[in-house]
């Protein structure tokens, strides 16, 4: 489904990814772990198509197509979703307005009918309840004054609403207390389906107690240094990243 080959990426003239290979089959959840600066977030941004991330070599094939040739909004329409580590604030735009605009834009691009206001409200309420999101929160401007937990839950809410085929979660657990991690993880698990692939980027093993991955990849110095089953995450919890720190 997603096939990354020999990916090299520069950010502000510095090479961050140096020949990354990764295959993520449909229906699987893979965790990306690794020390700070190993290129985890860079991988997330490159997949979403952020401009400042310059691909100097390699390919990314997504559903048989060249992902790197697509615009960010086309990638979103084709089902690529990034749950941001630091979701942006947009003053004056009610969260509900933003959600509705996004959902209907993506539905339109996928050739589906736009949702009517009552249908949309029903849809949002159902998903919000699952994530224990207070409907009052959705009236507030997008992410403005949201707590860390509210921001992350809002990301997962968007993921649920946009029904993506590839979910990239960039350190969704960072800054969350244990209860919030559990709520977010439950939301993510509810979205695990046989036709959806997920890339869960995290620094800590903690999140993987709740979202149990099919595979774990450890990134070091811009490459996948080691891959294994869920037990690899537990091993790292014991030994730390010392052996993977850049020499």
């Amino acid at each position: 489904m997603l096939e990354i080959k020999n990916l090299h990426v520069n950010v502000e003239g510095r090479e961050i990814l140096r020949g990354l290979d990764l295959i993520l089959p449909q229906g699987e959840v893979h965790a990306i772990m690794g020390p700070n600066g190993s290129g985890k977030s860079t991988l997330a941004y490159v997949l979403a198509g952020k401009e400042e991330y310059e691909v100097t070599a390699g390919t990314v094939i997504w559903k048989g197509e060249d992902l790197l040739a697509m615009d960010p909004s086309d990638r979103a329409a084709s089902g690529v979703f990034l749950a941001f580590q630091y979701p942006m604030e947009i003053p004056g735009v009610a969260t509900m307005t933003f959600l509705r605009t996004a959902v209907n834009t993506v539905r339109k691009a996928r050739g589906e009918t736009e949702l009517s206001t009552p249908d949309f409200l029903r849809f949002v309420r159902e998903k919000a309840k699952l994530l224990k999101i207070d409907p009052e929160m959705l009236k507030r401007p997008l992410n403005v004054g949201f707590s860390g937990g509210e921001k992350k839950r809002n990301e997962i809410l968007q993921m649920a609403l946009l029904e993506p085929a590839l979910c990239v979660l960039d350190e969704t657990d960072s800054g969350l207390d244990i209860d919030a991690v559990r709520i977010v993880a439950e939301g993510v698990n509810a979205l695990r389906t046989p036709d959806r692939a997920m890339l869960v980027i995290t620094h800590y093993q903690r999140l993987l107690n709740y979202i149990v991955p099919d595979r774990v990849h450890v990134l070091s110095d811009g490459r996948v240094a080691r891959s294994g089953g869920p037990e690899l995450a537990l091993e790292l919890e014991e030994s730390g990243y010392a052996e993977f720190e850049a020499a």
Binding site: M88, P91, T105, Q158
Partner: protein, 492 residues
């Protein structure tokens, strides 16, 4: 609605050909030679069969104008205007088009984006159906006439006078004479004085004591919007305890080719009266290279003459090559209140110098200014405002908030606030921010499937939300779309 149905029936009985003929005659007869002189002023006054005092008033203004100099203090730059090179009197003389196929496709695309019905599109673009197809055009006329007639009946019942000012000069000369030029005197400024000499027409509104105008005058205007010409003069009087809401302009793009516009709007609010005046302006801003476009030099002022009166200006400025406009409030009555809510968007090579004056004269007067300037492309956007408290204005209060948003790195936003307090008990607050749409905000929206233009429109609509909420309900949705359209091409 039975009332509307009844009107439609009544209008159906009118001889349509006669109606149409009258309209054509008007167009053909309303012309004056190029240039400006006392003779032209006399010509205009005669055309309108104005009373003698009106001609004298115009001539005094003209003589005064000859001694005045064009102001140069605004942050706008344009080639010197040759005032002898303009027509000072000509009725709307658009080329008659046979169908929408002849209209600039760019304009049609904009209409479609705004969701304007086809009939209305034809009317706005000036399509005249040929002989054989007259039925269609007639129907379109019916739609407007019937609704307009219904409105007129309702206004009359309430005692509200709403008519062209030229008509008011004939039917209600005493009212016009009592108030005309009392807010913006003929000697006020270069452009207002020019307007006083040569104004062609405009609206006159009088709301009698204690009457709440039964409808937003915008509703009426929306249907009757016509090419109102270069030198509009509007006078609105809200008598004691009355209320009126008025909206000028139209969200559909009127490709007005008149280059020089110098309008004057005067508002008078007597004791406990309230006037809400909203403007949506989207005249031709010039082409991508900055050529052409309307020069908009407007003087708008409201006089809160009576105690506890209130005047509120709301403006959405997206068009014109140059905007020079400062809708102001004279807070004369004790306890009176003035408000100014503004959205000014500039793109391409547009230059906007706009703001307000809040002049506190009476005791316990208060004012509020919320200005949102958005600059994109190569444009320059200046907020210029004055808040002053005179010696007797004890306990005057003002709150000002000026926010500027920049899109791209070739535009400019400027804020020039003047604050003068001659009374020690005045409380004036001023807040200002300048921000830029960040690449990260844009990327966040793109990742959720929005296009760059949709993202900018969404972020800008959020930025101007406080002001949008001041607009009459039925215009909010269209104005939101208009904001998106005026910022097209501002990113990527």
């Amino acid at each position: 609605m039975p009332a509307v149905q009844e009107t439609i029936e009544r209008v159906r009985r009118i001889d349509v050909d006669q109606y149409k003929y009258g309209f054509v005659t008007d167009i053909e007869s309303d012309k004056a030679p190029k240039g400006l002189s006392e003779d032209i002023v006399r010509f205009i006054s005669a055309k309108k069969t104005e009373p003698e005092w009106m001609l004298t008033w115009r001539l005094e203004a003209y003589r005064r104008w000859l001694t005045m100099r064009e102001p140069t203090w605004a942050r706008v730059d344009y080639p010197k205007i040759n005032y002898q090179d303009y027509y000072y009197y000509s009725a709307p003389k658009r080329k008659a088009l046979a169908s929408l196929d002849e209209v600039d496709p760019e304009i049609l695309a904009t209409y479609a984006k705004l969701g304007i019905p086809l009939r209305e599109q034809e009317a706005l673009a000036g399509v005249v159906r040929p002989e054989g197809e007259r039925r269609v055009a007639v129907d379109a006329v019916f739609d407007s006439v019937s609704v307009a007639t219904t409105f007129q009946a309702e206004l009359k019942k309430a005692g509200v006078i709403f008519m062209p000012i030229s008509e008011a000069l004939r039917q209600h000369p005493d009212l016009v004479k009592k108030y005309l030029g009392t807010v913006v005197p003929t000697s006020d400024n270069f452009f207002a004085t020019l307007n006083s000499a040569v104004f062609s027409d405009g609206s006159f509104v009088y709301v009698p004591p204690g009457v709440r105008c039964p409808m937003e005058l915008s509703t009426y205007f929306r249907i009757n919007e016509k090419n109102t010409g270069q030198f509009e003069r509007t006078l609105i009087i809200a008598d004691k305890g009355s209320y009126v809401s008025y909206l000028e302009g139209c969200t559909a793009p009127m490709r007005d080719e008149n280059q020089l516009h110098a309008a004057v709007v005067e508002l008078v609010a007597l004791d406990d009266a309230e006037i809400k005046y909203s403007t949506v302006q989207n005249w031709y801003p010039g082409d991508a290279a900055g050529k052409g476009g309307v020069y908009n030099f407007v003087t708008k002022r409201g006089d809160c003459r009576g105690p506890r009166s209130k005047i509120s200006w709301t403006q959405v400025e997206t068009g014109s090559a140059i905007t020079w406009k400062y809708p102001s409030c004279i807070l004369r009555g004790d306890g009176s209140r003035g408000e100014f809510y503004s959205i000014a968007i500039s793109n391409g090579h547009q230059q906007v110098d706009s703001g307000t004056k809040m002049v506190h004269l009476g005791r316990d007067t208060s004012s509020r200014i919320i200005s949102k300037g958005i600059a994109a492309g190569h444009s320059n956007n200046t907020y210029r405002g004055l808040v002053s408290a005179h010696r007797k204005a004890s306990n005057a209060r003002n709150f000002t908030n000026c926010d500027s948003l920049l899109i791209g790195d070739k535009c400019g936003a400027h804020t020039v606030p003047y604050i003068e307090a001659k009374n020690a008990s005045a409380t004036f607050e001023h807040e200002a921010t300048t921000s830029k749409i960040s690449d990260d905000q844009l990327f966040y929206c793109l990742q959720r499937g929005l296009s760059a233009e949709e993202a900018v429109a969404l972020i800008v609509n959020g930025f101007v939300r406080d002001v949008l909420q001041q607009l009459p309900m039925e215009f909010m949705a269209e104005t939101q779309k208009l904001i998106g359209i005026s910022l097209e091409g501002s990113v990527g």
